[in-house]
Amino acid sequence: MNEMLDITLIQLISAYLFIVILLIIVRLRKIPREKEIVISTFRMTIQLVLVGYVLTYIFENEQWYYSVIILIIMETFAIYNIFKRSKHPLNRELKKIIAVSMVAGTLFAFLYFDFVVVQFSPWYDPRYFIPIAGMLIGNSMTGITLGVSSLMEGFSSRKKEVEAALMLGATPNKASQKLVNHAFDSAILPTINNMVGMGIVFLPGMMTGVILSGASPLSAIKYQIAIMLGITGSVALSVILFLYFGYKTFFNKSAQLNI
């Protein structure tokens, strides 16, 4: 941390010039987005300042339960966010499956990361625990959100096809195989694409952070590779769990379509 330049308050405020420029452009072009831009800038600032204070406190008072509480808050927020971002109404059962897959998938990947790959010491060290859990949870959240919308979309647009397959004596599994696979594909694709562009198109946030804090780029990329693999695992696992249990909610026990 000692090699990192501190930004003074004045310098930080000068960065808001970008938003001012954006606001001017938007106003000149008469695009009705001023309110959203102001609100999101404001929210971003407030949220990060609060997080800064919370993290400072937690880093200074390392306790396992602080790390765990933060983890629970992140999971809860992520699950709530998936519900909110779904364009289709979700029934209770599907919500339950989303929550369970999210927690199980991210937690498994995270514990493996914590105890096997990086081996945080202590295991709850908030400097590692919180940002890494955040990245796994955030990416799984995006993955499941995409999976949910693709699955719901598939069942409504290909309903007739699924039904025709059932009429021919197909099991619900076989009848929906195509759209389940498609949902998996669209959920996992952004993560795969992310790996392809890594290092060339952009330096990811985590690596930027590690480099800024004074570590050598080589040790930064080791973290980045590990975290990319962890993210892929976490997304894949939670999406698979969601789809495996999720498609079944569209059928009743007589193998009839529920929708």
């Binding site: 007739k160 096809e161 039904e163 025709a164 009429m167 021919l168 004596g169 193998a255």
Partner: protein
């Protein structure tokens, strides 16, 4: 073969009593909205009546494993559905779903010839016309070698000439192989010409304890 007792389904259908005989071609005849398709879908457990019992071969339909029942009592839906892939893939889809062995190309071509479907097996099925899709879907169902065929307006997208020649072929096949067929149609001609028994939808709902379709007088 089928015995329906005191069936209620929403506001659409009420059947006090109905028997459908084995080895016959039975037509369900009635105007749209009279519950023909609904009745057909109940027979292979695609929907469950709110009340009442349906027996197939002396056993309640709910006691069968749905997939096994549907492979034995196979249904051709009203809208012809083609799956992604070639004409061959589509014809073989039913066998694939039910885990039965595939049939060779020459049998497929012979069947297509009977269905007046002059297309290549490798052709992309999504490029077919409505009438061609309907015949592919029909062929797919016929290949499954089921005991009972539930056919929901199987020739609705076809011209009269093709309709007649296909119905001639299908009914002869069904008779020859001693199968049962239950067919929904709104064509009086098809109903009269090709069926052994006609069930008039407006009669079964209003006459209690009738035995239309049983053949007994």
């Amino acid at each position: 073969m089928f015995l329906l007792k005191d069936i209620h389904y929403k506001d659409i259908l009420h059947i006090p009593y109905l028997e459908i005989k084995s080895g016959e071609i039975t037509c369900l005849f009635g105007e749209s909205g009279s519950g023909k398709s609904t009745l057909l879908r109940m027979l292979n457990n695609m929907i469950t009546p709110d009340k009442g019992e349906i027996r197939y071969q002396n056993q309640s339909i709910s006691e069968y494993i749905p997939m096994e029942l549907r492979q034995e009592v196979v249904m051709l839906g009203q809208e012809p559905i083609v799956f992604d892939g070639t004409v061959r893939d589509n014809l073989l889809k039913g066998l694939e779903f039910s885990g039965k062995p595939e049939v060779d190309d020459s049998s497929l071509l012979a069947l297509m010839n009977e269905l007046k479907l002059h297309k290549k097996l490798d052709e992309d099925a999504s490029k077919l016309s409505g009438g061609e899709k309907q015949r592919v879907a029909f062929g797919r169902v016929l290949l499954m070698g089921a005991k009972v065929y539930l056919l929901d307006e199987p020739t609705s997208a076809l011209d009269e000439e093709t309709e007649n020649s296909i119905m001639d072929f299908v009914t002869t096949e069904i008779k020859k192989k001693k199968k049962t067929a239950i067919m929904v149609t709104h064509s009086k001609y098809v109903a009269k010409e090709y069926s052994d028994t006609i069930i008039y939808m407006n009669e079964i709902a209003t006459t209690p304890n009738n035995k239309v379709g049983t053949g007994h007088e």
